[in-house]
Symmetry: C2
């Protein structure tokens, strides 16, 4: 484990390609110059010369910045700085099959932390229409089969994130769903707490933030119970 | 705004390069084949032929996957699938100067949500040494100047994340710090709530999860007050 830590912090030098180095230099350059979205970058040839690298290597590095959404090509203007999509690249790698077990567990916990922390935003931003939408979702749940219940679970919690009015948070939780689902399917425990979705809606209507947090904890309790098991940590 | 939404969902076709398409195809291929870390990928020449693209374009796309940490080159084995660092690429683009105002606000709120949701993990994982460390940080604060107070603020909240034992969560909050700091400096409000760090430590020692959440809310209240202002949404 300690060795693993060390190899995380220090990459072997040989594993750096020229493109890695040029990409890093370009990102440093963009920061240092305080470039803003819309600003033009110097021409490829000038950049390659200044860095003392071939145009192929420079293009490879620029291609990475394009993937990150940091630069884009505009007609007649060449490369300009763009607004990166901060979740876009993470989205590309969030695959339960290639993420290690510890990180999967971390992400599972991260989502529990988020759900427990939503109360302030929910109570300050919920509308009557939101409550109606949640009620409609919660009602459909009765007597549904397992596949439907999972879809419904996603719809209900997704709607909660939507009520926060925070697009980044909402997209983030959608990205985390497959991971959460994957970890849950590894479990054989029942995943339903005493407090149901309908109870949570009722609390949102007539209760307080504190009531909601206590209710959400009870709702998520099967997951929290699992965390305290030594094997889960 | 509506137009902006649409252009977020539908990229103009012309803005896709061959490398974008090949990168997407490769990621789909890796998922479909259920490749796992350590598995070898087919040779460059074979991939280029199967996709009907030049080796330069293929290399550009592979270079992006290497940046994402999805593949790595091993001596005598060629390209193998690797474990991507899910936060690594986001780290590259989290620059307050290039992120748009709405996203900065979203990230600011995301951090408040996280802090409010930490109580369960803190109470189930805190040790006596953790409490001592927090006390030491909180004590240093008295009478310190502004620069020191900010450092101390970071140290205190950073230690809370550390106590969760969740490395992903801890790294995530470290990444968000510059954004949080940037948004706070745009404010002229005082940023200190009635509940101090020392109060929070006391609650961690002798209080309940619910007490802690109420305390944390009071601690963060100047930030929450700001959110409810219509201009802040």
């Amino acid at each position: 484990m300690a060795n693993n830590e060390l190899s995380k912090d220090l990459d072997p030098i040989e594993s750096f390609t020229m493109a890695d180095v040029v990409e890093l230099k370009l990102r440093e350059y963009i920061k240092r110059k305080s470039f803003k979205p819309g600003d033009s970058l110097p021409k490829e040839l000038e950049l390659a010369e200044a860095l003392g690298v071939s145009r192929n290597v420079l293009r490879e590095a620029l291609s990475r910045l394009r993937m990150l959404g940091m630069v884009e090509t505009r007609k007649r203007r060449g490369m300009v700085l763009a607004r990166p999509d901060i979740l876009g690249t993470m989205e590309r790698v969030l695959d339960p099959l290639i993420i290690d077990k510890d990180t999967l567990q971390d992400i599972f916990e991260l989502r529990l932390v988020l759900e427990m922390g939503l109360a302030e935003l929910l109570f300050s931003r919920k509308t009557e229409q939101d409550i109606k939408d949640l009620e409609a979702i919660a009602k459909k749940e009765n007597g549904a089969d397992k596949t439907f219940r999972i879809k419904n679970e996603i719809a209900f919690h997704g709607k909660l994130y939507e009520i926060t009015g925070n697009d980044t948070l909402k997209r983030f939780q959608i990205m985390l769903l497959p991971i959460f689902g994957y970890v849950v399917t590894l479990e054989d425990q029942p995943t339903r707490g005493k407090v149901t979705h309908q109870d949570l809606v009722e609390i949102l209507k007539t209760g307080t933030k504190e009531d909601f947090r206590i209710g959400m904890f009870e709702h998520l309790k099967p997951h929290f119970d699992r965390l305290t098991k030594p094997s889960g940590v």
